[in-house]
């Protein structure tokens, strides 16, 4: 893992920035979200891919690409969480009577 991080730090930085931006926007976004059922399916899919990665059942290049995808996705989600939390914190501060 540390090898992947060290080797792809540029791409991971891009993922985390993308996540931060998406999380920042998501707090005030008015559009439709992912339905509960859909998000459950997506979680199951992600879990399945994670299992595939951990058990190393996919050989060669596809296996490497899966690892890379999961790592970038995890970093993206982390960025989203931080971004949303920051936005929420900024909004709640400005909403306070001052």
């Amino acid at each position: 893992m540390s090898f992947l991080v060290a080797f792809h730090w540029g791409w991971l930085l891009a993922s985390v920035l993308l996540g931060l931006a998406m999380g920042w926007i998501a707090v005030v976004h008015r559009g439709p979200g992912v339905s509960k059922l859909m998000s459950r399916w997506l979680s199951v899919l992600t879990l399945a891919l994670l299992v595939c990665s951990v058990t190393r059942v996919i050989p060669g290049r596809p296996g490497y690409w899966l690892d890379l995808a999961l790592l970038m996705f995890a970093i993206y989600l982390f960025g989203c969480a931080i971004g949303s939390w920051l936005r929420d914190w900024v909004i709640s501060r400005s909403m306070r009577p001052g």
Binding site: W11, G19, G63, A69, F73, D88
Partner: protein, 464 residues
């Protein structure tokens, strides 16, 4: 926390650019990543002894194929590749090199090249053996056809290196190690090479033994050529040592009384048994020929040339058959020189005197038996006498002044008679010769010095 769940349902639009980023990352990083892993996997294997190592990287999975020389070496090599950071899986396709039974190694030399074949234990020993072969044979091409195999006996390298040291001493041949048995065959380059190889083999490592040593020595050649035109005797080839060299040179000097000697003999070991006992009589036979060649090859003596007269040819053949040591072969290709034109008695006297000036007929000390070394001179005298068939000849014997006069008188008579008998045996008519002894009464030099005495002990031919 509840907020995070709520917001997360709105995060999906970012997945699309994320997917694009991922595709770009995968597109650009796969090849460099594979190259990086391959380089680092190879570098961790540098210290491990392997053959035919192959590393293929696909994604982060490494396929490792190699021939290892022990199970420990093999598993430790696989282990080191597994510990390379970034490697996800190692597909182990390594194997042990096959075990050779028996473990056979060979080095074969012919005129143009040295071929190393059979089994070799490790890549390092293989390289060392090729290097040693190159050093041993100088500029000759070395062809490496060795296969790596396990199962070499202990100290194989030292044994093989010792044998390679010997390959320079071979003209052609094959050296083989089969487990701990060493076999050698072929022909040594120089005389003494076979003995030098046998001596070097004493240093073979323990446990190794010689199964067969069939190295042959090159023929031991001695040659002598008598040339009547240049009046020279040329000696070439080998003699066992300097002592024998001196003995042969002295014998040749006495037998070839009037010939200039060109001595190109070299001392070398490897002479066949009985060398001197065969060469000296053969030189004696050559001295009786007008022109001739003597070739001694190992235990075969070939003498060819022209005898000076008919009876001499038979005498030479009979003498050689009698004098030769056992186990030697003789090939005599003799013919008789055509008789020279007759001359009148005055010329005859002149020719005889010239011959006796160049050489003296020798006898055994104090006796009347003719020294065999004088046969060459006597044959010349016979040949000359045959050219004046009508002349009567007085054979005069003389001694020095040592001893009693009566003894010297008798000795000189007997010696003169011995010479006359030799001439009669050669086919000349007995009534042409008168053998007369003068004792010490007609000295030609002083009897006070050894040199003078030697001149006084003589046989003169006087044509009447």
């Amino acid at each position: 926390m509840h907020g995070l769940f709520k917001w997360s349902s709105k995060w999906w639009p970012g997945v699309v650019p994320l997917a694009v980023l991922w595709a770009m990352a995968a597109w650009t990083s796969t090849a460099p990543l594979e190259a990086d892993l391959a380089a680092r996997s190879s570098s961790v294997l540098k210290g491990t002894v392997l053959d035919k190592t192959r590393i293929d990287v696909s994604g982060r999975d490494v396929t490792f194929a190699a021939d290892a020389f022990s199970e420990d070496g093999r598993s430790s090599a696989v282990g080191s590749v597994e510990t390379v950071p970034g490697v996800r899986l190692v597909n182990d396709e390594s194997r042990l090199v096959p075990e050779a039974k028996p473990f056979v190694w060979s080095a074969e030399r012919d005129v143009a090249k040295v071929t190393l074949g059979g089994n070799s234990p490790l890549p390092a020993s293989k390289a060392k053996l090729v290097e040693a072969a190159r050093a041993s044979v100088g500029g000759v091409e070395v062809v490496d056809q060795m296969h790596l195999a396990r199962g070499a006996p202990p100290r194989f390298d030292s044994a093989a290196l010792l044998l390679l040291d010997q390959i320079g001493k071979l003209k052609d041949g094959k050296l083989t190690i089969s487990d701990t048995k060493v076999s050698l065959s072929g022909m040594a380059r120089d005389l003494g090479g076979r003995e030098a190889i046998a001596a070097a083999l004493q240093n073979l490592p323990e446990d190794f033994s010689i199964a067969a040593n069939e190295i042959k020595a090159p023929p031991y050649v001695f040659q002598a050529y008598k040339d009547p035109v240049t009046m020279s005797l040329t000696l070439t080839g080998y003699v066992p040592d300097n002592k024998v060299h001196a003995a042969i040179a002295t014998a040749a000097g006495r037998k070839f009384f009037s010939q200039k000697m060109v001595d190109n003999l070299k001392a070398s070991i490897g002479a066949p048994w009985g060398f001197v006992s065969a060469v000296v009589p053969a030189l004696g036979a050559l001295s009786r020929l007008s022109t001739g060649t003597l070739v001694v090859t190992d235990r075969e003596v070939k003498i060819s040339g022209d005898a000076l007269y008919e009876a001499a040819m038979a005498q030479i053949r009979a003498g050689l058959a009698k004098d030769f040591p056992q186990g030697w072969q003789l090939k005599a290709e003799l013919s008789v020189k055509p008789a020279a034109a007759p001359v009148d008695p005055t010329v005859c006297q002149q020719l005889l005197s010239e011959l006796l000036e160049k050489g003296q007929i020798r006898f055994e000390p104090g006796r009347a038996a003719i020294d065999p070394d004088s046969a060459g001179l006597l044959d010349r005298l016979v040949e000359t006498t045959l050219r004046c068939p009508t002349a009567k000849i007085e054979i005069a014997g003389h001694t020095d002044a040592d001893g009693e006069d009566a003894f010297n008188q008798a000795l000189s008579e007997k010696r003169a008679q011995a010479v006359a008998d030799y001439l009669v045996k050669a086919g000349l008519s007995a009534d042409r010769f008168a053998a007369i002894g003068y004792g010490s009464s007609q000295p030609v030099a002083t009897n006070d010095t050894d040199e003078g005495k030697a001149q006084n002990r003589r046989i003169d031919f006087l044509v009447r």
